[in-house]
């Protein structure tokens, strides 16, 4: 079987039916339409929109980005148009036939829940991804995703607020990623996605200051891929809900690695900046790999990693 077109690329991400396993990651794909000059969005499984808050938010002052070895450090903060503008201005601009997952981040659980409520029942919103990598102000800035109890409360709150497929995006800044995935499954999440950017720091030795105005930022890009692969493999072994793999995916081979490690779908992030057409090429490339290896259904690749303790 060497015809990529004949490969069944469909996957189900916790109730979100995807044409293929390749999504664009939140915060790296804008609200979708920015990519139309470069890419037919229908070639993707779909995309996760920029994370939304209840109110529109401005971000951090510049500098917001810095380059690191094979990585990108960013501190954009909560900048977004707000949930209402998303629903009424951004969503309608997205071409039909494109699967859209909304992403939510907030500083308090009830606000998370409120944004989820507003998104529920909106046509075109196929599911909600909860960005748990936000500092919980009351707990002195620890991320929701770093504390099992906080995370459980967050998932519970979101679960109560919406019947939509609920994907919890885990923070990688933890000791035990498997435990966090289990918490989400226990609270009724339909899937988990990981990893978000890793907390990191870059310094300018001439100014003696952090490069980013926000001091700390999130590290993304190829540099973190081996860390993300490890966490995805650990999470996928720990839960029975689907896992969405994210981190440093540059091409089809990288996406296949995540599938083999147990990811049902993947998200492409930073690479969209470097090459706005790359996500489509990755979708095609995975099918080509499957065809080359006589794999009829991409779901047959999920968790097919060999030579590992059962």
């Amino acid at each position: 079987m060497s015809d990529a077109a004949a490969v069944d690329t469909r996957v189900d991400l916790g109730g979100i039916a995807l044409r293929n396993p390749v999504l664009a990651a939140s915060g790296t794909f804008g609200y979708g339409s920015e990519f139309e000059p470069f890419l037919d969005l229908r070639r993707l499984g779909g995309f996760v929109a920029k994370s939304l808050t209840l109110e529109p938010r401005a971000g951090n002052p510049p500098p917001r980005i810095a380059e690191t070895p094979s990585g990108l450090l960013n501190a954009i903060s909560l900048e977004n148009v707000g949930v209402e503008a998303f629903i009424h201005q951004k969503l309608p601009a997205i071409p039909d036939g494109v699967t859209v997952i909304a992403s939510v981040f907030e500083t308090e659980i009830d606000r998370y829940a409120e944004v989820c409520k507003r998104l529920t029942g909106v046509a075109r919103v196929a599911g909600i991804e909860i960005n748990a990598s936000c500092p919980h102000v009351k707990s002195g800035g620890i991320e929701f995703g770093q504390d099992p109890k906080l995370l459980a409360q967050l998932v519970r709150g979101a679960r109560r607020a919406t019947g939509l497929p609920l994907v919890i995006k885990l923070s990688p800044n933890v000791t035990d990623i498997a435990a966090m995935a289990r918490v989400c499954e226990g609270e009724g999440a339909n899937a988990v996605s990981l990893v978000n950017a890793l907390q990191a720091l870059e310094v300018d030795i001439e100014t003696r200051r952090p490069v980013l105005s926000n001091v700390l930022g999130g590290l993304s890009g190829p540099a973190i891929r081996p860390l993300a692969l490890r966490m995805v493999w650990q999470a996928a072994r720990a839960v029975s809900i689907p896992v969405c793999g994210i981190g440093g995916i540059e091409g089809p081979a990288d996406a296949v690695k995540f599938l083999l490690c147990g990811a049902t779908a993947v998200q492409v992030g930073t690479s969209n900046y470097l090459d706005p057409g790359v996500a489509g090429q990755i979708a095609d490339g995975i099918a080509a790999y499957a065809a080359r290896h006589g794999v009829a259904r991409l779901t047959d690749l999920v968790g097919a990693l060999e030579g590992v303790p059962g």
Binding site: P62, I65, L72, E79
Partner: protein, 284 residues
């Protein structure tokens, strides 16, 4: 914030070509005085551009095998696109890793190219003189505008170029070949008047006739230009050179602070912005 209204009148938003994402072929990469280079590319499907627009070039993958370091593409103004065959010229200065690698580009090699991006310079009003002020790499961002205005005729085009020394003045001969009034200033006095290009601007602004100022260069220079223009209340637009990751409005990395709060995205709401709208205090 991301959706700040794009400053009125600063930039032309209509009829801009749809950008392409492609592998451009290197036709030549020549020394251009000082640390400057002239890169000539063939860009498949090149849709044309408007003065002020730029492209993202990825130095990382140049050569035999893809690499992820350096990771980010580099923003470069479209200097000129002679002929309709997708030939695109970039003038750049070797300032760091990315441009140093770009300087190694060999004919036949391919480099990822996304562009043209951003908004374009708006023309002056019919009665306005155009005063173009550029320093360092900013010179490359103003050549296409100078060329168009020179050909359009009108009350006249004044071009003021500044650099550390004569050798650093990129594209000087190209400007000289245009029907513009060209003045240069160098810090070491090796060419034109000794000192900063902003001194030339002060002189140029003496003339009473209505004028519109276009500026591109180091932040400190653009800020000074903005002040001088404001003092004589001449409309002034600047082309900012913030660091960028994507170039088309999705990473939110290129934010420039605006007066009265919020940010403009230099790649999407600019790079051409109304100088009066920029909060120069909070510029990095």
């Amino acid at each position: 914030m991301a959706d700040a209204l794009q400053p009125a009148g600063a930039a032309a938003t209509r009829g801009l070509p749809t950008p392409v994402r492609t592998e451009a072929e290197v036709l030549a990469c020549q020394p251009e005085g000082g640390a400057n280079r002239r890169l000539v590319l063939r860009v498949p499907g090149w849709p044309g551009f408007a003065p002020g627009q730029f492209a993202m070039l990825s130095p990382g993958a140049l050569g035999g095998a893809p690499r992820s370091d350096p990771l980010l593409p580099r923003p470069m103004a479209v200097y000129r696109a002679p002929g309709g065959d997708g030939e695109v010229e970039i003038l750049f200065k070797v300032t760091g890793r990315g441009t140093r690698l770009l300087a190694d580009a060999l004919p036949g090699q391919r480099v990822r190219f996304v562009g043209p991006l951003g908004l374009a310079f708006a023309d002056p009003e019919p009665e306005e003189r155009a005063i173009l002020v550029a320093g360092g790499t900013g010179i490359a961002s103003l050549y296409a505008l100078a060329r168009r205005l020179a050909r359009a005729g009108g009350p006249g085009v004044e071009v003021l170029l500044g650099a550390r020394s004569g050798a650093d003045l990129m594209g000087r001969d190209d400007f000289a070949a245009l029907d513009v009034r060209l003045h240069t200033a160098t810090e070491d006095g090796s060419e034109g008047s000794r000192g900063l290009v902003t001194a030339l601007l002060e002189a140029a602004l003496q003339e009473g006739a209505p004028a519109r100022v276009y500026a591109c260069g180091p932040t400190a220079m653009m800020r000074r230009v903005a002040e001088l223009a404001a003092a004589r209340d001449r409309p002034c637009v600047v082309s900012l050179e913030n660091a960028m990751a994507c170039g088309f409005g999705v990473c939110l990395g290129c934010a420039a602070p605006l007066r009265g709060g919020g940010f403009a995205l230099v790649c999407r709401d600019g790079p051409v912005l109304d100088a009066a709208a920029v909060d120069w205090e909070r510029m990095p």
